[in-house]
Symmetry: C2
Subunit: 343 residues, 2 copies
């Protein structure tokens, strides 16, 4: 497993960001796609159990799943804590700078198809997904990583949730959840449980620590909320921070995405207090993938320039100029100034 191209955040469990240069590509190569792990790489016996409030408890091997009708989707995944390091005050948690994001083509069986076969009872309320990875939660009792979805979401074929066994046309790598992971398009990455080996149909709310203690927006001034869908965000890939560029024409480029909502527009500001001007936005990489955008800038003068980009989604949501601070540092989609030198 080649981790050498990644920007390491933690050695063990392994956590790493995508290098900015790799985010120029439409699809992020697997070896450069960000990795978020809560525990050491686990053993996985290649089996998936579906149990709980179901008419027919089932067990699938990966091979069984590979023989079912497959779906392939490009999906932009972003860590819920991405950009935590630029929140003020600095929240606790892994210090993600802003490139814990990537887009891969994921292949698997629709969750709705598999779930249907197990015949969830009418009393089913939530579906919990457990990974083979385990360890003490914040130094406390031993747990497996686990997350839940409302049954309506999990059973909704149009939500395109996958039991994914391949990434960019190859079997999953260990860092990305081999041999099987959940893939929840449009949600922050924590929903896409890696090393998936157990699905539990529940009649009561799931209250595992990664559902009710981590991945919660703990606002200072209003009720706490669970972290769910991704938020609208534009990322500048060219120029890179600290780049030196010459006066003349320069094409500023980047990506934009907004969870399950399409991107309507991207605007760019090349001057601290200046005007926001529209960028050219390419069609998105499917309903859950980012889009490329470009802005032709006529660079004049010399010195430090601060470039900013912001996206607007189809619902009219845009990015704040300052992060919406929350204690655990999630969902930072604030406009991120990029300083460069013109000479």
């Amino acid at each position: 497993m080649d981790r050498s191209g990644l920007v390491r955040v933690k050695a063990e469990p392994f956590n790493a960001e995508t290098p900015l240069a790799a985010l120029r590509e439409p699809l992020t190569p697997t070896s450069l796609h960000y990795v978020r792990s809560n525990f050491a790489l686990p053993a996985h016996d290649g089996m998936l159990a579906i149990e709980g409030a179901v008419g027919r408890p089932l067990t699938f091997s990966i091979n069984d799943l590979r023989h079912m009708p497959e779906t392939t989707l490009p999906v932009t995944l972003e860590c819920a804590g991405n950009g935590r390091m630029t929140m003020q005050p600095l929240p606790t948690g892994e210090p993600w700078s802003g490139t814990a994001v990537g887009t891969a083509e994921w292949t698997g069986v629709p969750l709705a198809t598999v779930l249907e076969r197990a015949k969830p009872g009418p009393e089913a309320r939530e579906i919990a997904f457990y990974g083979a990875d385990h360890g003490p939660y914040k130094g406390g009792p031993e747990v497996h990583f686990g997350r839940s979805l409302p049954v309506e979401t999990a059973a909704d074929a149009s939500a395109d949730i996958l039991l994914a066994y391949a990434m960019n046309g190859e079997p999953l790598t260990a860092d990305h959840g081999a041999p099987l992971r959940l893939l929840v398009p449009g949600w922050y990455g924590m929903a896409s449980v890696k090393w998936l080996n157990r699905i539990e149909v529940r009649t009561e709310r799931f209250n595992g620590p990664y559902q009710v203690r981590s991945y919660i927006y703990e606002w200072a001034d209003r009720e706490h909320q669970p972290v769910t869908h991704g938020r609208v965000r534009a990322l500048i890939t060219d120029p890179v921070p600290g780049a030196t560029i010459s006066p003349g024409r320069y094409t500023i480029r980047g990506k934009a995405w907004a969870g399950t909502t399409p991107i309507r527009s991207v605007e760019v500001c090349t001057d601290g207090g200046g005007e926001w001007l529209p960028a050219d936005v390419e069609p998105a990489l499917g309903p859950y993938g980012w889009c490329d955008w470009a802005f032709s800038w006529v660079v004049s003068g010399a010195g430090r320039r601060v470039i900013r980009a912001r996206a607007v989604d189809a619902e009219g949501c845009t990015q704040p100029d300052a992060p919406e601070w929350n204690r655990l540092g999630y969902g930072n989609n604030a406009v991120l100034p990029v300083a460069i030198d013109v000479r």
Copy 2:
């Protein structure tokens, strides 16, 4: 004039930060000391006029001043807009990142001595200081750079305000106000008017634009305030942001200063949510100079680490964890996280 070692922010008028490595030294070499200019380098005829509400209007040549009793003082100067670029939302103004600070030995005549000779009248209220530099203020009418001080401050010999003609033992350079500048220890840099050629004793408040429009804390939630003294701040010089260091013992180093107030202590935190531990603080470089501090860190583990330092001054003031946002982006003394890689 060698500007090549500086980190340029604007080519014309020339504005530049001190490179971080130069901030390791007790005194900042003149060629590496940050430069803040509002207008092009002006011509200066080498004369200083003192006029207005005085018993005896006077004119001094630089040579006259050089023959008066001189004082030499190390003084830490910091730009009021230093750190503007890390404020969220991004304020308007020059995008200073955080190293628009430096300490030089300044030599000149005490302002109080010179002022006394002109015999300010009892109705004197403010003393205005004008530079030879001039231009349109924000695209509006032509002005000279000008700032005022209350007469009590200007006439107070113990405030150690200098009419400075030398920096680090050499005549002032053009970028630092040759042949003469005001030097107001403990105040943000805007008070230390460069290219000084006129002092006006006033019976009414001075309302030049650099006094009443710029250099004002425009708070969102309380009355505006003029920018005056510097604020308590610690700066990490080692390691530099993005450095790679090895496990084992590492000495974190930096500077700390607090306007006219001595530094009481410096604390360091080497772990996002972790403990703040005391650093060893060296004696300051005189009453207006920064002090060196050091913290012996036993580095373990591998991955991204976020280091922070904060200073406490003799009045118990410390640094906020987030900048106190104001529209024009002044006085950012928030704790600044420095990310490094341990491997």
